[in-house]
């Protein structure tokens, strides 16, 4: 289905409101929407909500042969799926331009920053290495898919455990979870993308643009950064020119946002770790808020 275009008056309204430093949802220019992270029952599965934008990420692993140029390095593979669930515009099977863009940004942010130690994924040099695959499924599109996907991807990587292996000569024994405790990936740092949208030739800038704000914007800048203030990737798109101090200002805002988000991720990971080790219940059901009309629960009686 084709996208419903934004009407001129709506466009004007958003622009005018931005001129008065107001946003449609009442946020300040540098505010993020509320971030929620829920973990699934499986390791390496998480669902991230950024306002109404919702993304599901799952990390999986398999043994493959390494690339010829790098015989002792594991492989990290990122796949972003824009499911038609997220928006009727997205089609199945065909990668749209937007999908390719998000995929490339995420890949660059995660691979080039070497946040996951690929050397530790080597089993037998030149023959067998682990391939780590990150599948990101967009479930609801309400703007800023890049930030939400990057948070989901790095959280899922930090949450993932791969099975332990023993090498006996040329034989590789993969241990099940019951035999040996699975191992976490060595995640050195957490690069997180922060998006900025620009209006009126860069006069106004917004952090975490919503879907409508993205439709009105002139251009966008994405900064990938970790909490050590290291920029891992930077991308500018759209038809606009930016001044040097604007880029600097954005990177300063990104520092604050990345610190906040990283703390939030660590907290969520810690909560899940505690729930798992204390034998409490965990999984998506724990994230459900039960006291609203949209949710329901039933314990069926036993049948004979």
């Amino acid at each position: 289905m084709r996208e419903t275009p934004l009407s001129n008056c709506e466009r004007e309204f958003i622009r005018k409101a931005l001129g008065e430093r107001k946003r449609l949802d009442g946020r300040q220019a540098y505010d993020y929407r509320t971030l929620k992270i829920a973990f699934g029952y499986d390791r390496g599965c998480c669902r991230v909500d950024l306002g109404q934008t919702r993304v599901l990420a799952q990390v999986s692993c398999e043994i493959t042969s390494p690339k010829q140029q790098r015989p002792s390095d594991g492989v990290l593979f990122v796949n972003v799926e824009l499911s038609p669930m997220a928006s009727p515009v997205f089609e199945v099977g065909r990668m749209s331009d937007q999908g390719v863009e998000i995929n490339r940004i995420l890949e660059r942010c995660l691979k080039e920053s070497r946040c996951v130690d690929t050397e530790s994924l080597c089993i037998i040099a030149g023959e067998k290495v682990w391939q780590i695959r990150v599948d990101v499924h967009v479930m609801n599109h309400d703007g800023n898919l890049i930030d939400c996907s990057s948070i989901a991807a790095i959280t899922a990587l930090a949450h993932f455990r791969r099975p332990d292996v023993t090498v006996d000569g040329t034989d590789v024994i993969v241990h099940t979870i019951e035999e040996k405790d699975p191992l976490p990936l060595s995640v050195h740092h957490m690069p997180i993308c922060v998006s900025f949208s620009f209006y009126e030739q860069g006069k106004f800038l917004l952090v975490d643009p919503s879907d409508k704000e993205e439709k009105v914007m002139d251009g966008k800048m994405v900064i990938g950064m970790n909490k050590h203030r290291e920029i891992c990737s930077l991308q500018v798109t759209g038809q606009m020119l930016l001044l040097k101090d604007q880029v600097l200002r954005c990177s300063n805002i990104a520092v604050v946002k990345v610190t906040e988000i990283t703390e939030w991720i660590q907290k969520a990971l810690e909560n899940d770790r505690q729930a798992r080790s204390n034998g409490e219940r965990f999984g998506f059901r724990e994230a459900v808020v039960m006291d609203t009309v949209t949710t329901n629960q039933m314990n069926p009686e036993k049948l004979k």
């Binding site: 109404q52 599948d135 999984g283 998506f284 009309v293």
Partner: protein, 212 residues
């Protein structure tokens, strides 16, 4: 049967959606419809029902296509397709967690999502899975570990008009007597699923915004 839990209307872009949790198994379904349909898929006198199944890991293969087909056929019998000629009803199913009795959870969540979207239906359907283990015992709603060791896995889909069978999907070998036993047990428990649908919709459409 295991505990059931649902969340409705969590997504904003689709016409209706449901996230259903049965035990640890969790599935989210979104529904668009009635909406425009591609000209080559248009049917003159009824709506085209399309199901897209998204597994969590990897690219879709044969098994996923098969899965889509089973759900599509089930949904098509349930939807009053003649009410919306030359239009499309799209159902997108996203795997969240597969811990056994998976097909049943997918069909039930599709039914809830169709209810949430307000699509006209002929009747509701409820899917129940049961397992025959190596001792010949019947287990309702098996988890994935039980499924691995079992002898046969049977999924039944019933309607709520006269509780007749809409879809059957089986794997493994069983005797005809066992099949009959499974049918009657699943039919009984399907009534609880219908009760769950009713309670969920009652709560969704209730006047109080927050139920204590």
């Amino acid at each position: 049967m295991c505990e059931m839990m649902c969340e409705l209307g969590q997504l904003t872009r689709c016409d209706g959606d449901a996230c259903l949790m049965q035990g640890e198994t969790c599935v989210t379904t979104a529904v668009y419809g009635p909406t425009e349909v591609r000209i080559n898929k248009e049917i003159l006198d009824k709506a085209t029902v399309e199901v897209v199944y998204k597994s969590k890991v990897g690219l879709p293969g044969c098994a996923e296509k098969m899965f889509e087909r089973i759900i599509r056929n089930t949904c098509e019998t349930m939807i009053l397709t003649t009410a919306h000629p030359r239009s499309g009803i799209n159902i997108i199913i996203q795997e969240m967690q597969n811990s056994g009795s998976y097909l049943a959870c997918c069909i039930n969540s599709a039914c809830l999502a169709l209810l949430d979207a307000g699509v006209s239906l002929k009747f509701l359907v409820a899917a129940v899975t049961c397992l025959i283990d190596n001792e010949g015992e019947i287990i309702l709603d098996p988890n994935s570990k039980q499924e691995k060791d079992g002898k046969a896995l049977l999924t039944f889909v019933f309607d709520n008009k006269d509780f007749s069978i809409v879809t059957v999907n089986t794997k493994g070998s069983y005797s005809s007597q066992q099949f009959k036993d499974c049918t009657s047990l699943c039919k009984k428990s399907s009534k609880q699923v219908f009760e769950f649908y009713k309670k969920s919709m009652e709560k969704l459409l209730s006047k109080d915004n927050f139920v204590k």
